[in-house]
């Protein structure tokens, strides 16, 4: 039986196991934080108008809210 030194064993294990790319799975959260800090562009004026129109429609006919909720 051949006895291996620690270095030989380490070398053989590294050769036998697949290489893991730590860079791909370790840095996701910092990337998300950077994107959060970057912020989102403000809504366009037409989007505000549309949002107000939805609120007005729901105020005119409150039962329509049920219809909306049923969809989400």
């Amino acid at each position: 039986m051949t006895r291996l030194s620690d270095d030989q064993l380490r070398h053989r294990l590294r050769g036998a196991l697949p290489v893991v790319d730590h860079a791909t799975d370790a840095d996701l959260w910092p990337q998300v934080r950077r994107r959060i800090e970057r912020g989102a562009p403000p809504p366009a004026p037409t989007d505000w108008v549309l949002a107000i129109a939805v609120v007005v429609l729901c105020a005119i006919e409150p039962a329509a809210v049920n219809w909306l909720l049923f969809h989400l």
């Binding site: 996701l28 989102a40 989007d47 939805v54 429609l57 329509a64 219809w67 909306l68 049923f70 969809h71």
Partner: protein, 132 residues
């Protein structure tokens, strides 16, 4: 994490957060002691809508590889699929909660709401997850 899994998670996030409010609202609107068969009414918002949003966002990601697609309009188009599905489920279960008048107001409002939600919230989540 795989892009399509990210797209699914970003898609289901908003309806999943809204659903508890939907259930509470529906329960309160039927809180009169009468039997409203609430479990039948919430089938679409609980069972269908979140998965539809997730799958729709995956579809959006797939389409965007080959062409530029405005996410707001793409999200609003989902109403055109969910509305018939919701109508069919209500008809099949004998629990129709929509009326003609409600539809005339609710349908355009739903289109607008979906447009805004997809353009600003789903798009933002996509961006945060690196697929925007």
């Amino acid at each position: 994490m795989r892009p399509f899994l990210r797209a699914y998670l970003a898609g289901i996030a908003l309806p999943t957060m809204v659903i508890p409010a939907v259930i509470v609202a529906l329960a309160l609107s039927h809180a009169g002691g009468r039997d409203a068969n609430l479990e039948r009414v919430v089938i679409v918002p609980v069972g269908l809508a979140p998965n539809a949003w997730g799958l729709w966002n995956m579809f959006y990601l797939r389409l965007r590889r080959s062409r530029e697609v405005p996410i707001g309009l793409f999200g609003a188009a989902l109403v055109l699929l969910l509305a018939p599905a919701g109508y069919w489920v209500q008809t099949a279960l004998g629990q129709m909660v929509w009326t003609r008048d409600l539809f005339l107001i609710g349908f355009p409002a739903a289109l607008a709401l979906y447009y805004l939600a997809w353009k600003h919230l789903v798009a933002r989540l996509n961006d945060l997850l690196g697929i925007g």
